[in-house]
Every structure is written in C-alpha cells, then in structure tokens.
C-alpha cells in the first residue's frame, strides 16, 4: 500500500521535475566551442549531451583502435569506463548552409577545444541560429552598371572603416554594380554597430510590422466586406424577383396585431385569476392564450410592413456603384501602403551584417538562393556573444528570450519566436468552455436532483451521463465537427438547406401548438392528483402528456430547421468563406463543454445532495417557494462543490487536444480570437492551442530535433497555465467556503 503511494508520488514528482528542468533550460545560452578535428576541419558548436557509442563497421573500429593506441589529445575523457569511445552532441546551427542542426562528434577525433571570445550565436528570423564570427557591418548599394565609365578604380581597398568596395554582381535585374561601404569591421566593432543600427531602425521596423500585419490586411478585409455587402444585395434582389408577391393587406395585419395583444392580455389576466382554479378546462384557457399569442406574434413579426425585401434593380445598381467607388478608394490606400512598405524594405536592404562560419568559410546569407549576399540587419533577431558575456549577461539573454517567447508570435515555421497567440487561444478557449459548461451542467444537475421524480428514468439518465464521461474525446471531436461546424454552423450561415413551402410551414406550427395544448390539458389532469382526497394515479394521462410534449418538441424543431423565413446571417460569403459553418473557437469550446459536462453534472449533483434536508425544510417553513429555496439556500451551500466541478472541467478541457484538431485548432492562426474590434470575441476564427502546438512542434516540424527544447518549454507553459487556472478557481472556492463559515453571504 505504502509503496504504491511512493511509486505514484515518485512518478508525478519525476514528471514535474523533468518538465521543469528541461523546459526551463531551453533559453539558457551555452558556451560556444571551437573544435579542431583530426581531419583538420574546424567546427563551431554549443555542447549538449554526450554518450558512449559502439563503432559501426570495421573501418571505424580500426580507426578507433589506432587512435586509442596512439593516444588522443583529450586523453581519458574520450573513452568511457567500459572502454567505448565517447561522442558529444553539438548544436551547430547554420541550417541554410545545408548542414544538420545537430552533429555528433566523437571526442577521440578532437584535437583541441577552445572557446573563442569572438564566436557569436546569431538568432535569425528564418533558418534558425547561425554560429560564426561577426566580420563587420556594411552598407550595400546596388547601382546600375555603366560600361562607359571605370566604376571600380576609385575604391580604396585598404580595409579600414569606411572603406568602399565595388564589385560586379549578377542579380535578378541583370549585372549590377554593388557598392559596399564598411561601417564597422571586426567582431567587437560589428557587435556595437549592430546594436546601434538596430536602435536606429526600430521605428522603421515597427512601422513595417504595422503595415504588414494591420494596415494592409485591414484594408483588404474592408474591401472583402464591401464585396460581401454587394453580394448580399444581389442575393436579396434575386430572392425578391423569385418571390415577388404583395404584402399582407394592412387591415389583416392590424387584426393579427390586435389578436396578439388580446391573447397576451387574456393570458396574463386569466393566469392570475385561474391560477388555483379547480376546473381543469378553465386552466387550459391560459396556455391556449399563450400559444395563440406566440403564433400570432410570430406571424405579425414576419409579415411586418417592410419585411419584404425592397431591392429593385435600380437600388442594387446604386449599391454596386457605391461599393465600387469605395473599393477603388481603398485600393488606392492599399497601394500607398504597399509603396511605403517597399520603400521601407529597400531601406532595409542597405544595412547588412557579415558573419562567417569557420568550417567552410561561408557567410550567413540573405536567403538560401542567394548564398553570397550577406544577410540583412533586419533579419537578425539577437546576437549572443556567448563566450564574452558573464553570468549576468547570460541571465539577461535568458530572460530576454523568455520575454520574446511569451510576448511574440511564432516565426520560422513555429520553430522559433514566441507563443503569445497560442496562450491567448488556450486561455480564451478554456474560459469559453467554462462559461458554457457550468450553467448547463448546474441546471441539469438541479433538475435531476431537485425537480425530477426519482425513479427509473433518472437512474437511466445518471448512468448515461456517467457513461458519457468515458467516451473517447475524439468521438466528441467528430460530433463537434459534424453537428456544430457543419449542421448548426451551416444553418447559421445559410439557413435551412431545404426550406418548406410557406403554407405547410404554418400548418406545422399550428400542429405543434395543438400537441402542446393536448399535453398541457392532460398534464392538468395529472396535477389534479394533489394530496387532497383519493384518486388513483392513472397511466394513460402520463403517456399522452409525454407523447404530446415530445411530439410538440419534434414539430417545433422541424419547423425551426425548415423555416422559409430564415436565410442565414452570412449567406453572402458562401461558398467562398464559411463563417460559422467551419472550424472555429466557438464550436471548439462547445465541443469541449459537451466533453466536460458529465464532470460538472456529477459534482453539482453531489454538492446539492449534500445540502442537509433540514435547511430546505427550514426554508419551506419560512414560506419560500422551491426556486427561492434553491436559489437562496441550496445553491450558495453547494457553491464550493459546484466550483470543484468547474475546476475539474477546466483542467480536463484545457489539456484536451484530440477533439480540437477536428474542430478548430490550427498550426498558425491568421488572427487572435479576441480583438479590440467588435464583436471583440470572434467565435468563428480558428485559433492556436498549446496542446496542439506541442504536437505540431514536436512531430510535424521538418527539423523536429531542433524544436525539441521548445517542445519542453511549451509543455512547461501548458502545465503552468492549467495549474494557474485551477489555482485561481481553488482560491475562489476557498474564499467562498470561508465566506460561508464566517462572514455574510
């Protein structure tokens, strides 16, 4: 028994320690080694782990044996206790130069290990880090080549700062003259210069990001919205042509309006007078009034004057013209923004950083296809002088990297940069899920516990709920995709697929009303069986009432699903871009809510059942109604238990990944699900999620070995966020409990 606890706790502690240790060490800048190997090559790398290995093939074995005979520069460190050779894994970077990010180097091949002070690790926008030496910072200008003039003679190639080199280069625009001015030469000067130039360029870059991420996409979405408006007008015009008919005569409409009012007033007044009437047919008059009021009211609403679309071809043309003018204006603005962007880009082309790696003497290129052009300063994210900075310098880099990780969007195919949108997506999803699951679960549990007659039916429902908790989560994902995204979302987007003819539809509604009234009438028979007097409980009214209710519900659902009056809110965007008819954070959170519903129901039921009966009796004795008792006594007392359920639901929902892959989590979402634009919360947008991010980072990335440390860090973050969400809920619950024990509620 005791050992089982030790094993469990040990495993949990080990898991947490492993995740914390691996996750928190990702951003620590290690020293850079310069290795000279026995074949004469030089390698720059950050040492990671080492292991003994078994040589493959006879040739290798022979080499190892020779090396051991002769002795190696590293001596005993190159061999393990068992006599096996040891190899060490180095992070060597420079992926764009065609080498693997990591390299195993056998220690017996190493001639010398040094930590040169000028070795740097340059984090870049793309292609991961570059390990090498900073040679200098240059200003490159491309000039047209003029064959008539000797453009190359005036350069002074003495190599000092400010030296100008002119060379002929092949570019996409043909042969050109490149004028390169050295503004800094040498590692130390270059590092300082990079910092200076970055500071100068920072406003330019923030403007560039603004244009790229906000201004141009914003204009684009405005244009799209105008297009959709026009499209909507066209659809309505079409519809008007198809269904052109005269509106209802005004007198008939007014009559219906009066009828609605009469039914409403009748319902209210009769309801007050006949509340305790012993005549069951009299009491039925009240629901009759209500059903009539609802039906007439609906009719009055859909036939309201001006309800028929009035979109003549003339008006349509007007709308189209207006939109075209506006779109032209917006295009103009967009072009201006593009021009500005191009200008900023060309300014960025000027400042370049020359960094050379020692293995093959190649420089860090501007792109893979232009290996001889040095990279732009704007491509440099961070220069880490790993061997020059002390402990506090490392600490600075460490926290700087954490800051970037937490506040920036991913870049370089999610392999670098931050996870800010991912965090936002996860937290938004979890909050939405909690907001939707708690009321639903609590109402269900209250009904089951407080209102439903305990019997076979409630037992079956309870068993079903408990079984729901065991359904694999991917099943919920499928359901969410099929029902929420396609059926429900499709309905919201474009209305019913096969709307019913008008007359049939109204008969359907009347039928639902009649069934409802039958159920209510027979239900009235049931209610007569109070504690006064005899009367045997008969079975048929129960069955008839049940059939009436379910029939009315089915008909009402059918009517809703086939209404000819609703054409969807977003039909103009179809089929090009579904709004709610696709994957999105709203459907994802509802799917997860469904998944976690059993947890909340069970916890709430237990909490409600634990409220002592004497409390209820006391409340009823004071003259409280059932609902007042529940609201004022039962719910506050059960609140800590309900909170426990909500916490469990949050914990389960926040960590769930499988269903999200189907209903809305994506690799790289174009926008956050929350914004400062109305409606602030965009339920139709796809989102990023930490769990899914871990999966794609670890298993979908082409260079998954390089992203492994980031996977650990993201895992740590997910763990932290789930813990924080739980912790805050637990604190809330503790305060509720304390409040109930001591202070006023």
């Amino acid at each position: 028994m005791g050992s089982a606890i030790v094993v469990c706790l040990g495993l949990i502690v080990f898991m947490v320690v492993l995740i914390v240790a691996e996750g928190s060490s990702t951003f620590w800048p290690g020293r850079i080694h310069e290795l000279r190997l026995s074949d004469g090559s030089v390698v720059l790398g950050v040492p990671l782990d080492e292991e003994p290995y078994v040589t493959q093939g006879e040739e290798d074995a022979a080499q190892v044996a020779v090396a051991r005979q002769a002795g190696v520069p590293l001596g005993a460190r190159a061999w393990s206790d068992e006599g096996l050779p040891i190899r060490r894994r180095y992070f060597v970077g420079n992926r764009d130069l065609g080498q693997a990010t990591f390299r195993w180097i056998p220690l017996w091949q190493v001639q010398s290990i040094e930590s040169p002070a000028d070795a740097v690790l340059i984090e870049r926008e793309e292609w991961g880090a570059f390990l090498g030496r900073l040679e200098g910072v240059v200003h490159d200008r491309l000039l047209p080549l003029d064959p008539g003039v000797d453009q190359f003679s005036s350069g002074d190639a003495d190599g000092g700062d400010g030296a100008v080199e002119r060379t002929q280069v092949q570019t996409a625009r043909g042969l050109m003259l490149r004028e390169r001015t050295w503004v800094a030469r040498g590692s130390a000067a270059a590092t300082t210069r990079v910092a200076q130039e970055r500071a100068e360029a920072s406003t330019r870059w923030s403007r560039r990001d603004d244009l790229n991420l906000n201004v141009i996409p914003g204009l684009e979405s405005k244009i799209r919205r105008l297009r959709w408006q026009v499209q909507k007008a066209r659809i309505e015009h079409e519809r008007m042509l198809q269904h052109a008919r005269d509106p209802l005569p005004l007198w008939l409409w007014l009559l219906m309006l009066v009828g609605t009012g009469g039914a409403l007033i009748g319902g209210v007044r009769l309801g007050r007078r006949l509340k305790f009437s012993s005549h069951r047919w009299q009491r039925l008059a009240v629901p009759v009034c209500w059903v009539c009021a609802v039906l007439l009211g609906l009719a009055v609403y859909v036939e309201r004057p001006g309800a028929l679309p009035d979109l003549s071809g003339e008006r349509l043309a007007g709308i189209e013209h207006q939109a075209e003018t506006r779109i032209a204006q917006l295009r103009e603005q967009q072009n201006t923004a593009m021009d500005e962007l191009a200008r900023l880009r060309s300014q960025d082309q000027l400042v370049r950083v020359i960094a050379i790696e020692p293995t093959r003497g190649r420089l860090s290129p501007v792109s893979r296809s232009e290996p001889d052009e040095p990279m732009l300063l704007s491509q440099v994210v961070r220069v880490v002088e790993a061997n020059r900075i002390g402990f506090f310098g490392r600490l600075g880099v460490y926290f700087d990297r954490w800051g970037e990780y937490l506040s920036q969007a991913p870049r370089d195919g999610s392999a670098a940069g931050g996870v800010f949108p991912v965090i936002v997506g996860t937290v938004t999803l979890t909050l939405l899920l909690t907001i939707s699951v708690v009321p639903l679960g609590v109402i269900t549990a209250l009904y089951l516990r407080e209102y439903a007659r305990q019997g076979l039916m409630t037992s079956i429902i309870r068993v079903a709920i408990n079984n729901l908790a065991g359904v694999p989560s991917i099943v919920y994902g499928m359901f969410g995709l099929g029902f929420f995204c396609y059926i429900l979302g499709g309905f919201i987007d474009s209305g019913p697929a096969n709307p019913m003819p008008l007359a049939n539809w109204w008969w359907l509604l009347v039928g639902a009303g009649v069934l409802l009234l039958t159920a209510l009438g027979v239900g009235g028979l049931l209610r007569r069986q109070s504690i006064m007097g005899g009367g045997r409980r008969r079975r048929w009214p129960v069955l008839v009432a049940l059939a009436g209710w379910s029939g009315a519900a089915v008909l009402a659902g059918w009517a809703l699903a086939t209404t000819p009056y609703f054409h969807g809110f977003f039909e103009e965007k179809l089929p090009e871009q579904p709004t709610f008819g696709g994957r999105g954070i709203l459907w994802a959170s509802l799917t997860l809510a469904l998944l976690t519903l059993p947890v909340v129901i069970v916890a709430t039921e237990e909490a409600v059942a634990a409220v002592p009966g004497s409390m209820r009796e006391g409340s009823f004795g004071c003259g409280a109604s059932k609902w007042q008792t529940i609201r004022r006594i039962v719910l506050p007392s059960a609140m800590p238990g309900i909170m426990t359920g909500a916490i469990l639901a949050m914990a389960r929902g926040a960590g769930e990944v499988a269903p999200l892959m189907l209903v809305g989590a994506v690799n790289l979402a174009p926008a956050l699900p929350v914004s400062t634009e109305a409606p602030f919360l965009h339920g139709d947008r796809t989102f990023m999620h930490l769990g899914f991010h871990i999966y794609t980072l670890g298993f979908q990335n082409p260079d998954s070995e390089a992203t492994e440390p980031l996977v650990w860090t993201t895992t740590l973050l997910l763990l932290f966020i789930v813990l924080m969400l739980n912790f805050s809920a637990i604190v809330l619950r503790a305060r509720l409990r304390a409040g109930m024990r001591s202070a006023a509620l």
């Binding site: 305790f276 012993s278 007097g533 009966g613 009796e617 006391g618 009823f620 003259g623 024990r741 006023a744």
Partner: protein
C-alpha cells in the same frame, strides 16, 4: 430533493391491566382493535373557545399507512398549546399538517378539513406558499442557514420581496429582541449564524419564525437538542412570546409541557385522546391512558 421521512410506526397496544386507575377507561384500545371511531375527551372549557386552528375530521396517510385518524381539535387563540404523546403518535405529523410541510413527503394523502383563522388550509385553490408565510415554524434541530445572523432573521421578509434596508433592520432588531438574542448578537449581526451556540441558534430560529408576524407559531420539539440551561431560556422565551402569538408546541418532555402550556392535547396511536387545560391534564386527567402517560407509566 423531496424531504424523505419514514412513516412513523404505530405503536402496538400495551396491556395496561392490573394497575391503579383514577380516570375512567376510555375504551380507546378496544375501539382501535374493533376499528370503531374513537371520540376524544375534550374538556368543556375548551369546547367553544375562539379557535385559531380548527381541525375537523382530519385523516392523513403516508402511502398506505394511516398516521392520523379523524382528528378533531380546536386550538384556542393566544397562549401555548402543547401536543404530547409517545413517539409515533402523530403529534409532529399533525403539527406539520398545519403548514402543509407534509406535502413535501412523497405519497402523502389527506382527508378532512383544517381551518386557519376560518380560511381553509386544504383546498385546491390554496396557495401553499402564501399559507406557509402566515405561519412560523421552529424545528427539532436548530437549522440556521449558512448566512449571516441578519440574513437569517430577515429571510422570510427577503423571500417576500422586501429589500428596504431600514425596514429589514428594524424587523431584525424587533425579532431578535423578542427572542431575547439581541443583546448577545447585536454587535455581530454580519457574522455567520453557524458560529452561534446551539441554544442561540434555536433562539435565532425562533426570531426567524416570528419576524414576519405569523398567525401561529409552530414549535416541533424545539428543546430536544439543547442542554438544560438553553432549554430553560427557550421555555422562558416561549412563555414571553405566547402573550402575543398563538403557539403550538410538540414536546416529549412532560415537565416542559406542564411548565409552558396553557392547554395540552394528548395523542396516542394517531388519535387525539384527551384535550384540556394543562393543570387538569396533568393533575386530574379524565382518561386512564392520559393518567398513565403523564405519570410516566408508559410511553
């Protein structure tokens, strides 16, 4: 959740032969056995009193078990009426029938009539909620709500939709003064009622029961969970309150009934046996069952 209660078992009849009898034999046991109706002994002074609660031929079943047999009882205005009798005799059931708290039990059925100040208690058009608001009830175990003292006392007013602060405070103070709790709690009205001692909690429940000025105060063994000192205080309080309210108290403790009540009803096997002024019931009971019960020979 409906409150579940076990239907009280009707005690088997006990043979009482060979003992000294002061009162006349009622024929109760014989009537029960023969299934004949039993006519209770009601003392003359109470027959024509101005009744607050009139119980007329009232019968109650828990499912198929009959718990009350055609009870006829007129409870006079003001003063304390005690209901005594051995366990399971139906006295609590009768009390809870007055505010229809038995409605919460599954399978309860009643016949007969009951009037509260001339208005029917059991009729199809009676709003049970409104009816309960006219009555105050205190239970066997103190059951304050997990709220502050203040909120506990004003709870009946709150559920009635009263939210005016000054009015609530005034009512709270009045009720707490009436239940002799004001001086003890006036400085901590905001603290939880669950922190009070048992006796204080029960007095708080009394304050809660009288805050809305009920027509009748129903006490269901209010002291059975309290120590002697708290019991004494509650009894004093009942005495005090009975000047203004009609109080009906169910008690197991015959000394208590003798101390606090003006008239006493003795119930046995779901029937009313004898109803008379307390002094008469305890000192000169007319029926032998009453005499045996009050002298502690059974029950």
């Amino acid at each position: 959740m409906p409150v579940r209660m076990e239907p009280p078992a009707i005690l088997p009849r006990q043979a009482q032969s060979g003992e000294k009898r002061t009162g006349r034999s009622s024929g109760l046991v014989e009537a029960v056995h023969a299934g004949h109706p039993f006519v209770p002994e009601v003392h003359e002074t109470l027959r024509d009193a101005d009744a607050v609660v009139e119980v007329k031929d009232f019968t109650l079943w828990y499912g198929s078990t009959k718990a009350l047999y055609s009870i006829d009882l007129r409870i006079p205005r003001k003063g304390v009426t005690a209901l005594i009798g051995p366990s399971g005799c139906g006295k609590s059931t009768l009390l809870r029938s007055i505010n229809r708290l038995n409605d919460l039990v599954d399978g309860v059925r009643v016949e007969g009539q009951m009037l509260l100040n001339q208005s029917p208690v059991y009729a199809p058009d009676v709003d049970v909620i409104e009816l309960r608001k006219r009555l105050g009830m205190v239970f066997q175990k103190p059951n304050p709500f997990p709220k502050s003292i203040f909120e506990n006392v004003v709870y009946p007013l709150r559920i009635d939709g009263e939210n005016r602060r000054s009015l609530l405070e005034e009512a709270c103070e009045r009720a707490l003064r009436s239940s002799a709790l004001w001086d003890e709690v006036k400085d901590r009205l905001k603290s939880s009622a669950l922190r009070l001692s048992g006796g204080q909690q029960q007095r708080l429940c009394i304050a809660r029961a009288i805050v809305a000025d009920p027509e009748v105060l129903l006490l269901d063994e209010p002291c059975s969970a309290l120590d002697p000192l708290s019991t004494m205080r509650i009894e004093e309080l009942i005495h005090e309150i009975s000047r203004r309210y009609t109080v009906i108290i169910v008690t197991h403790n015959m000394q208590q009934a003798a101390r606090v009540s003006r008239q006493t009803a003795f119930m046995y096997l779901g029937r009313l046996v004898e109803f008379g002024p307390t002094a008469d019931i305890f000192q000169a009971p007319r029926l032998v069952e009453t005499e045996q019960y009050v002298s502690g020979r059974f029950g």
